[in-house]
Amino acid sequence: MAIKVYGSMLSTATLRVLLCLAEKNIDFELINVDLASGEHKKPHILARNPFGQIPAFEDGDIKLFESRAISQYISRTYAGKGTDLINTDPNKAAVESVWMEVESLKFDPVTTKLAWELCMKRFLFGQNGDEDVVKAEEKRLESVLDVYEARLSENKYLGGDSFSLADLHHAPMIKFMMETRVKELFDARPYVSAWVADILSRPACVKVFGVPAY
């Protein structure tokens, strides 16, 4: 198969790429990378991603890493197939790009810390999360979600009228957060809550997230 994704269903970054492929009805092969045994730091993965992270991606001769670069490549290369995820109007595409940056630099760092404290520490080491850190990060997330609430009160999706990568990039981490106490912060904001329900009910999301993560 031409398209190969090296990653794990436990990784939100891997899921970001799989969602993109699902939206566009593109077949691919998922080659599992076993995080628990440190496979992502072994030479054969480092050769694909020098930072020792997943996912890594292959489309024939093209080899990429960084999930958000991969999703943009897929969206451009397979434009017209399945859902269009980047607007064809350059100005509208630029606005989508703004909110992709927001997800990448504001939403993801905060939610990653929350995921670590609320889930990963227990899952990996049997440790409890640090309540002070959780409270501080929840406060930061609330500031971000307040901006999203205002944005979504004027636009159906973050990038504008249509579903785009700006929304898709959020989906894996949002799905994760919905299974923690952080769900309350999303539920407390009507426009954000409606947007979350909308994106998680998309057939591609149901298909990708329906697979058990083991």
Binding site: F51, I62, E66, Q72, Y73, P90, S97, V102, A150, R151
Partner: protein, 216 residues
Amino acid sequence: MVVKVYGPIKAACPQRVLACLLELGVDFELIGVDLDSNEHKQPGFLQKQPFGQVPVVEDEDFRLFESRAIIRYYATKYGDKNRKLYGTTLEEKALVDQWLEVEAHHFNDMVYTIVLQKLVIPKMGGKTDHDLVQNCEKKLEQVFDIYEQRLSKSSHLAGDWFTLADLSHLPGIRYLVNECELSHMVRDRKNVNLWWNDISNRPAWKKVMQLFHELS
């Protein structure tokens, strides 16, 4: 009507945008924003940028924020002025995006924290967290090791020509080799050193530095 760029010349993210506009020969007007007096957190500015950060760009009726979205937009819009800046093929574009992501996530996080701890916090009367700085410096050395390896295979990050991926590093590395006193991270690595000398001597970046010195 010229493009309006809101932000102080001394801040990294406005510099990123100015470097790109200068590379493309796009005229702009720089409108200062006084971070020291919290101008960026006032309602008037929050209307332009809801997170209260710089830069913001206004191009007639069109407004954008997030410096890396802004540079991608202009490199696409004026692609005929510099075809290689954001790649001419889908593959080239993907590689530029890949190394832009690397800059934003692996490189920028470390530089931002070092600048915040070593320069900004003491200026505001706070105490530097030296352990955190040391930790970031160690991680940054590892990032530069990866860059050294990458740059042994191509002269620039996304290929054998200057692209947005290289441009995006200019403000951060400038901080490292100057105020942060970490120039050894660049100088001690043969390929990184050659690359830095190349990209920092481009006329567009030299013009940004000229503005920096004139307006500071």
